[in-house]
């Protein structure tokens, strides 16, 4: 599971950075009459997004996320800045609970719940 989280995170950040370059550098340059950056970065983002989709999907399945968060995760790779926001949200809401890495209070709970095993 940790490997899936790492894969997802790495791809979320790479895809997010490339998409921001595309939107905040490539497109202004394209409007200014230099389409080369937008074209090349666009293709790169397209390829990275395919990998991102696979990684995000595998994590979503591993965590057994409901349909809506899954769709949000998958589509985040197409909206500038969104990958970062969604990555934080998914981490706080789903990944940390699944890995048992809540902040602060979760630690004493570990002993309590751990002793419950029948």
């Amino acid at each position: 599971m940790k490997a899936a989280v790492l894969r997802y995170r790495v791809m979320a950040y790479i895809t997010g950075v490339v998409l921001m370059v595309l939107c905040f550098v490539g497109i202004p340059l394209q409007i200014a009459g230099y389409p080369a950056v937008a074209n090349d970065v666009g293709v790169v983002h397209g390829i990275l997004y395919i990998i991102y989709l696979v990684c995000a999907w595998m994590l979503a399945r591993g965590l057994r996320l409901p349909a809506k968060p899954t769709v949000i995760m998958l589509l985040a790779g197409t909206v500038p800045i969104m990958t970062f926001i969604v990555e934080r949200w998914v981490t706080r809401r789903f990944i940390n609970p699944a890995l048992g890495e809540g902040s602060g209070q979760a630690q004493p709970a570990a002993g309590r719940a751990g002793s419950l095993k029948p």
Partner: protein, 165 residues
Amino acid sequence: MENAGPATAAATEAPDEGSGPVWRFLIQPRWLGWHLLMVVSFFGMVWLGDWQFHRALSGNGLSWAYTFEWPLFAVFAVVFWAKTIRDEFRIRRGEIPDPRAVAAEAESLPAGVAGAVQAAGAVQAGAAGGAAPGEEEDAELSAYNAYLARLNAEVKHHGRWHGLR
């Protein structure tokens, strides 16, 4: 039928042993909505691929990349959808523990954990209703407790989720 696409693909995958009613969840309004969305997005992506193909033919070299990318996305949609439905079949046949049911079952655990598990159920049900983000710390604590309970219930299936299946 509007769910002709990915839904039938998954339905043929599922053997008859479930004695009928198992597949009924597929025609619940919520699932029909998702089927419709998937079918529309599938044909939308195929159409976009076709459009890029024609642009590529008329001399736009960049469009070649998207000519292959859009159909690939369409295939992804079908595969993801088929697997989602297959998982749901497995949950309903009891081959995989239902995360929601496990949470409910854990309510019978000793006091300290019971309330916690409910909150975690809300976390798992996630998108469906939306858990109150207000009680954050408690929710995290509970989620962790519920996770441990769920792990207990899932030991038999250990390993299934570690990688590609």
